[in-house]
Symmetry: C2
Subunit: 302 residues, 2 copies
């Protein structure tokens, strides 16, 4: 087992820069209002501007750079994806779902506001993400904009993230085999990560080969991310991961750790990360930060 370490200075610097720029784009997309319904905007902003790593936006921007996509456009698509990701976290935290009072060390949106506001803020963010993607500022070609919406909807709908979340809940009362847990994790996290890299390829009108390579890389990366999440859930204390530890195991959920054991789960994650990077062989060294990202996901501590 490799020792846990931080990202390399290059990767860290690139992620930091991307995070700052995407945060600015997000802040611009979620402005203050003094409308009578401002509470929903406050909650949408609260659930989004929450110190997230902006991993998915980084993947969009890095993939888009491979095809010379204008950075402003890549960041807009990246921000839309992050809004959608934020919606999923707000709804996941709800009492009827994972019932998490904390998210990244702060009260989750329904604790800071209330349940109804959190439900609506999530709905609002999801809807707004699609609005942003269909604006000409995201790309001048409506075919590209349509493809972005279609791919994101497929990745995040019942056939993707939301279906995976359903499986996750079913797993609280049913014991899953390895195949079903894999299905769940790939739907829950893999599909949306796959979209992150695919979005860069769509924006750059990349060849089908390149698009597929990026999608497969990110799909595997998302899978590895979820396996390490399970490991972190049993290994860490809540101060480090910013949410209650042992949450999944206490909820009686089937996880990779509960099925494979911790050591086998770690080995599996390493294998998947190697597999992820093999998909990047079609790209030259401009994909090096994506290659490094895979190791970072494996060895992250939170």
């Amino acid at each position: 087992m490799p020792s846990q370490r931080d990202a390399s200075p290059e990767l860290q610097a690139a992620m930091d820069e991307c995070r700052e720029k995407v945060n600015k784009t997000l802040a611009r997309l979620l402005p203050d209002t003094d409308l009578p319904e401002e509470r929903i905007y406050d909650a949408m902003r609260y659930g989004t501007m929450n110190g997230g790593k902006r991993l998915r936006p980084f993947m969009v921007v890095q993939s888009a750079m491979l095809f010379g996509v204008d950075e402003m456009r890549a960041r807009r698509a990246a921000a839309a994806l992050e809004l959608l990701h934020s919606y999923s976290l707000i709804h996941d935290d709800l009492p009827a779902m994972d019932n998490s009072d904390l998210r990244r060390g702060k009260p989750s949106t329904h604790k800071e506001f209330d349940e109804a506001t959190a439900i609506l803020a999530g709905d609002g963010l999801l809807t707004y993400a699609f609005e942003i993607l269909t604006e000409p500022e995201t790309h001048e070609d409506p075919r590209v904009r349509c493809e972005l919406v279609n791919a994101l909807a497929k990745a995040s709908g019942p056939n993707g993230m939301v279906g995976g979340q359903m499986l996750d809940l079913i797993g609280e009362t049913e014991e899953f085999d390895f195949g079903t847990i894999s299905r769940m994790q790939r739907m829950k996290t893999g599909r949306l990560m796959a979209f992150a890299c695919e979005a860069g390829a769509i924006l750059g009108k990349a060849s089908e080969t390149n698009r597929k390579a990026l999608r497969n890389y990110a799909y595997d990366l998302g899978f590895a991310f979820q396996v390490t999440d399970d490991i972190l859930d049993v290994e860490s204390d809540s101060d480090v991961i910013g949410k209650p530890a042992n949450q999944d195991s206490e909820a009686g959920k089937s996880t990779f750790v509960s099925t494979l054991g911790k050591e086998q789960a770690k080995q599996r994650a390493e294998m998947i990360v190697q597999q992820a990077n093999r998909h990047l062989r079609v790209f030259d060294k401009r994909a090096d930060l994506l290659r490094e990202l895979a190791s970072y996901v494996l060895e992250r501590r939170a």
Copy 2:
């Protein structure tokens, strides 16, 4: 006050035919599965195939017909809108929101399934609606598909339906003036109805004048619809409207009836319906069913 009456035979026949055809499209879009996560599809179908009047789909199809749009395509866009409308009903009924156990005389989705499943089914329907609109089967021109998504997202997001829902909840604890109630109702219902007719114009690549006329007609119609909803809430018993009566007034919500009184609210609704129909002047007799629909909305009993 006009006596309450049913729709004319022509309108009724056209609405019945449209409802049947749209229901078939919806059933095709929401097929049975035997996937491990089939529960979410079951809930999505349950929340959609619920005996609804399919008023919004009728508006899409009638508007599209004014511009000679292929009926299959109009029905696809209509079905997408109805999926989105169904999501909003599922989320509105949740305990944290309106806490309604009944919807059209049957257990609401979170009662038939559970809260978590209802939240996810709503999220799934919302996402799926956008997926459908971006498929080439909806329209061969990606610019048209993009416009549909953009207009629907604007109508249903924080600046539209979801924002109106937020206002509605704020209204449980704050007393609203006439202006704020109007804003709430127009956002909650008007914007999505406006999209229904606008969708027909977008599909038919109508002129800006015609598109605006239809949008304004439907926006007013939606407003009148909501005012009559408030009236029905205090007038009917739950058997007729299929949900608990006096729900809003018991929740202490500001409504048109609570602000204007019942008789003034009725007069206001009539005025708005006349205004709605004035927008249709640019169209010939092919818009007659839409004209009739306005009276039907005013005089409906449920």
